[in-house]
């Protein structure tokens, strides 16, 4: 009994203290404009968790999809509006880095992170948070109707039985699409990869503009196989979609979501504090709620509907190579496939 009263009392005192603290902090509070592409549902949770740990900093989110966010950041090159980028694809951040837009900073504890989640420069220009990994969404009901067997590997996708039943994102408009293509080239070698894509192209029903759409199309039975990544699959499954999430046996391309400071920010100190916090164990546990793979090794817990060995499926991804060859790869891809439904003959 007494214990409960004590707890209540303590909680009240704590609350009063917290109020006093935040009231006094209101004077010194720094506001950070943070650009992000994290899922809409996660925005509030991340903000609250961070602000609870750093009451002197207030996060103002500016959120959009990766493509739009990158375009926005590049467009604002000469007049940056953001202080920090938190939760944008590492490939995009490399683009910003090559424009000299990022402020290199080694956050406290960066050495604890898995090195493939950290920029190769010293000090690093960006540090990773978590990863999303390429995967196939496979609609079992539609497959059964059509008498199809599930593919096991990327190469399986070129089998004639899947003709017209595969949807993948267009690498020219989707980051996921590009990570697939760049992974194939890195895994198979340039020539084999293009040969594979030539075969795959024969089976493709449509190239979508976004990376999650193929999976959602598979979930809705609009297609049988959606080349996508793991979350939309997990979410659709949760919503009751008859799909399996398949990680091809050759390995999967992946993309890191990462954090970086925009060069020239007026709130450098606060920005650094945010980056420091973003790689803490606490932060990574927060990422783990949605993401199966996080940058901080050894803490990830399995996510519902996803296997727990995803990191083993991830290939060695050379972000820098991908960024510097992006334009050439996309031009080649566009030349080969972008006129998919042109009238034939």
């Amino acid at each position: 009994m007494g214990n409960t009263i004590m707890t209540t009392y303590r909680a009240a005192a704590l609350a009063a203290f917290a109020t006093a603290l935040s009231a006094s902090a209101a004077f010194a509070q720094t506001e950070l404009t943070v650009y992000t592409s994290i899922e809409a549902v996660d925005l509030d949770r991340y903000k609250q968790t961070f602000e609870a740990a750093n009451p002197d900093i207030k996060v103002n989110w500016v959120r959009d999809s990766t493509g739009v966010m990158t375009a926005k950041l590049l467009a604002e090159k000469d007049n940056p509006q953001a202080d920090v980028v938190w939760g944008v694809a590492a490939t995009s951040l490399l683009l910003l880095k090559s424009e000299g837009m990022l402020e290199p900073y080694a956050p406290a504890g960066v050495e604890k992170l898995d090195p493939k989640f950290v920029d190769s420069s010293t000090p690093p220009s960006w540090v990773g948070m978590d990863a999303y990994v390429a995967a196939l969404c496979y609609n079992t009901i539609e497959a059964e109707k059509l008498g199809l067997t599930p593919p096991k590997s990327w190469k399986d996708l070129t089998k004639p039985e899947y003709k017209g039943h595969v949807v993948m994102p267009n690498p020219n408009s989707s980051g996921t699409g590009f990570l697939d293509v760049s992974a194939w080239i890195q895994m198979f070698g340039e020539d084999d990869a293009w040969a594979f894509m030539d075969g795959l192209h024969e089976n493709i029903a449509a190239y979508t503009h976004s990376g999650s759409k193929p999976c959602k199309m598979a979930a809705a039975g609009e297609t049988v196989i959606g080349v996508s990544f793991e979350f939309p699959g997990a979410n659709a499954k949760k919503a009751g979609a008859p799909i399996d999430i398949i990680f091809p046996e050759e390995g999967s391309g992946w993309e890191a979501e990462a954090t970086a400071i925009i060069a020239g920010t007026a709130n450098l100190e606060a920005a650094q504090k945010l980056v420091d916090w973003s790689i803490t164990k606490e932060a990574n546990e927060m990422y783990n709620v949605g993401y199966a793979v996080v940058a901080y090794p050894g803490i990830a817990k399995p996510v519902e509907h996803l296997p727990d060995d995803i990191p083993s499926k991830m290939i060695e991804n050379d972000f820098e190579w991908a960024a510097n060859n992006r334009k050439a790869i996309l031009a080649e891809w566009q030349k080969r496939y972008d006129a998919k439904s042109e009238p034939k003959g």
Partner: protein
């Protein structure tokens, strides 16, 4: 009168002394002209200049040095251009043209290059601007940088900006992109032919038959205006997609692609075509038909010799409007176009997908060409049409004809069914749990906050945006039209203003949106502050829909006695008293029409705002796009239906308010 006085005295023409009232008027005109200059002319200019800003690798801007294997003796500094000549031009001139994010590796210059070799390299720019990367690390300037072979492998040079038509050349030499032009035109032509035929049939039935339920058909055929053009795309997915209710009708063809674009285009352009053709048909002269009848002309012959020629200007005008709408629309092909590339989607892909703003500007300029051409042909035709309209005499009165009326009724019912089906399927898909596997009713799809696109906030933003657009747009448009129509003098300014006011009709929304990015997102621009705010959305939407509103206001003002202003001036009343006491109350119906037009369009527009919204100002129409983009089709349909219901409510409210206001302030209309 002697001959001597018939010689005009030398000297300058007299000018009226400017009164305070005139100063106010001119000030207002300048303000509104400036608005159009800033919101339209300047951004378009920046867009054009962006489309000719090119990027190419300048090989003379970099110098290289290479050491021997001991890394002690160095070769003479040589420019990359010279080196390239020495090795026989491994870097071809083709490779030099690139985009803003172009990168060029230099290892090819050394045929014997090996990243394991102990040979060292040095690189520097010949000017401070020359930029190159080591990996993704940016370097600039004339300082030598020494690198081992393995690092030199990672060196890429960056292009420098210049002016030229290279972007256009690049666009046309990419087959997939050049194909989009042909695709866009093909879609435009097919859709136009179909829409005009269907709309003519409808207009004919509505004006020339005695079928029942005309009012109902008129109402139903305006529905497409109330929804974003993405919604028919979504409806088509549900109707004819792989899980579509009517998939069998497709006979194995895919709805994703040209078929979907054409059907969707027919849906969303139908009301526009119907309105124009219906107007043309409704002014027919009864006497022509009586003449034809007395000449014993067959009905079929009468149709081709009297009806069609009478409506031909309307038909041509409608055809151009539809063609422009189809080729400049972006939402529909984005949703249903599959891999069928069209110009409007190319812009989006170039800008949002590849961050290639210059190429986006090129596509925008290309899109501007047919739209501007259509605009000029159309305005030439409209001029001729006026003469036809004013020559009307006895209005045509249809006579009941059972067979014909039944045929008309069946035809209109079919079209109405098509429209209602498109809306209905969206409504259905929006309110089931998980299409197509779990059809139990559910409102899950309305939980927008759990999805991309901005959630319910986007919906409320849209309402705020639409209201602001309606209010400020109506004020700007009406005052602007008043200045053009009812002021004297200042002729040059008025002509310029009139031109600017007509221009938005020829500027596709995407082009406008893109030009706004270039113009307003420039830190040197004093209006930079509105970038990313609600203000820029309102400004772009008002500007995008300026022309039709302006014409509506002009028509209303035109019908007003030209002598009101002289009378008020002779009574020594400032113009604003006349404006508020007479002009505005008398024009109230037109003003309400303009505001509902702006409201409805602000709710549904996607094309301009898709480049301009920010996280705080997401919009419902863009949310439909983004949710569909992310594959959340059912929530996209749900949001589309929210827009539809909002517009229906706004229309009802508009009708109610109009009626009330008219009752109170327009008592003078009844005798």
């Amino acid at each position: 009168m002697t001959a001597a006085t018939l010689e005009i005295p030398r000297g300058r023409a007299l000018r009226t002394r400017v009164s305070g009232d005139d100063l106010v008027k001119r000030g207002l005109m300048v303000v509104i002209s400036l608005y159009l200059l800033v919101a339209l002319a300047a951004p378009l200019y920046v867009l054009l200049s962006k489309s000719v800003s090119t990027y190419e690798f300048d090989l003379t801007a970099f110098e290289l040095q290479r050491s021997d294997e001991s890394a002690t003796t160095w070769s003479e500094p040589t420019t990359v251009a010279t080196l390239n000549e020495e090795v026989g031009g491994v870097i071809t001139p083709d490779q030099l043209n690139t985009g803003s994010d172009g990168r060029l590796s230099l290892t090819a210059l050394y045929p014997d290059f090996s990243f394991r070799s102990p040979v060292m390299y040095r690189i520097r720019g010949t000017s401070d601007d020359a930029a190159y990367l080591v990996g993704s690390e940016l370097h600039r300037g004339t300082e030598w940088l020494e690198l081992d072979s393995n690092s030199f492998r990672r060196v890429v040079i960056r292009p420098s900006a210049s002016l030229g038509l290279d972007n256009f050349v690049a666009y046309f030499s990419t087959p997939a992109l050049a194909q989009s032009i042909a695709n866009s035109v093909l879609m435009g032509v097919i859709s136009t032919v179909l829409v005009i035929s269907i709309a003519f049939g409808l207009a004919y039935a509505l004006n020339r038959s005695c079928m029942p339920f005309k009012g109902f058909f008129r109402l139903v055929t305006t529905i497409p205006i109330l929804v974003p053009s993405l919604l028919p795309g979504i409806a088509l997915v549900y109707l004819f997609g792989n899980q579509g209710l009517l998939k069998g009708l497709m006979m194995g063809h895919s709805i994703y692609g040209p078929i979907g674009i054409v059907i969707g285009s027919v849906f969303f352009t139908l009301p526009h075509a119907l309105l124009i053709i219906s107007t043309a048909l409704s002014v027919a002269d009864q006497r022509h038909y009586e003449a034809a009848q007395s000449l014993r002309s067959s009905p079929w012959r009468t149709f081709w010799t009297v009806t069609v020629p009478g409506a031909r200007y309307g038909i041509i005008s409608a055809a151009f409007v539809v063609f422009t709408l189809v080729i400049t629309d972006f939402g529909l092909p984005k949703v249903i176009g599959g891999q069928y590339n069209v110009l409007a989607v190319d812009i989006y892909k170039q800008v949002i997908g590849q961050q290639n703003f210059e190429m986006g500007a090129v596509v925008a300029v290309l899109l501007l060409v047919p739209a501007v051409a259509a605009f000029f042909v159309d305005s030439a035709i409209r001029k001729r049409q006026v003469a036809l309209l004013s020559a009307r005499s006895v209005p045509y009165q249809p006579k009941p004809d059972r067979g014909f009326d039944t045929a008309c009724f069946v035809y209109c019912s079919a079209v109405a069914l098509f429209i209602l089906m498109m809306i209905g399927v969206c409504q259905f898909a929006a309110t089931v749990k998980f299409w197509p596997y779990d059809l139990t009713p559910s409102l899950n799809n309305f939980r927008f906050d759990l999805m991309d696109g901005g959630g319910w906030g986007a919906y409320y933003n849209s309402i705020v945006m639409a209201l602001l657009t309606a209010v400020f747009g109506t004020i700007i448009v009406f005052v602007g039209a008043y200045m053009v129509e009812k002021t004297d003098g200042f002729a040059a300014g008025r002509t310029l203003f009139q031109f600017l006011a007509m221009l938005p009709m020829a500027v596709p929304g995407m082009v406008l949106g893109l030009s706004y990015i270039f113009f307003f997102n420039d830190p040197a621009n004093p209006f930079n502050a509105i970038y990313g705010t609600m203000a820029i959305l309102v400004v772009s939407t008002v500007t995008h829909f300026y022309t039709v509103s302006h014409l509506t206001a002009l028509t209303a003002l035109n019908q007003m006695d030209r002598e009101f202003e002289p009378v008020a001036a002779s009574l020594k009343q400032p113009f604003h008293r006349l404006f508020f006491r007479v002009t505005v109350p008398v024009s109230l119906p037109a003003i309400l029409d303009i505001s509902i037009y702006l409201f409805v369009n602000a709710m549904t527009t996607v094309s301009a705002v898709v480049f301009l919204y920010s996280t705080q100002t997401q919009l419902a129409s863009v949310a439909v796009l983004n949710m569909d983009d992310a594959g959340d089709i059912a929530p996209a349909a749900a949001m589309g239906m929210m827009i539809f219901y909002t517009n229906v409510a706004a229309r009802l409210l508009h009708g109610l308010v109009s009626r009330l206001l008219l009752k109170r302030s327009q008592a003078w209309r009844q005798r």
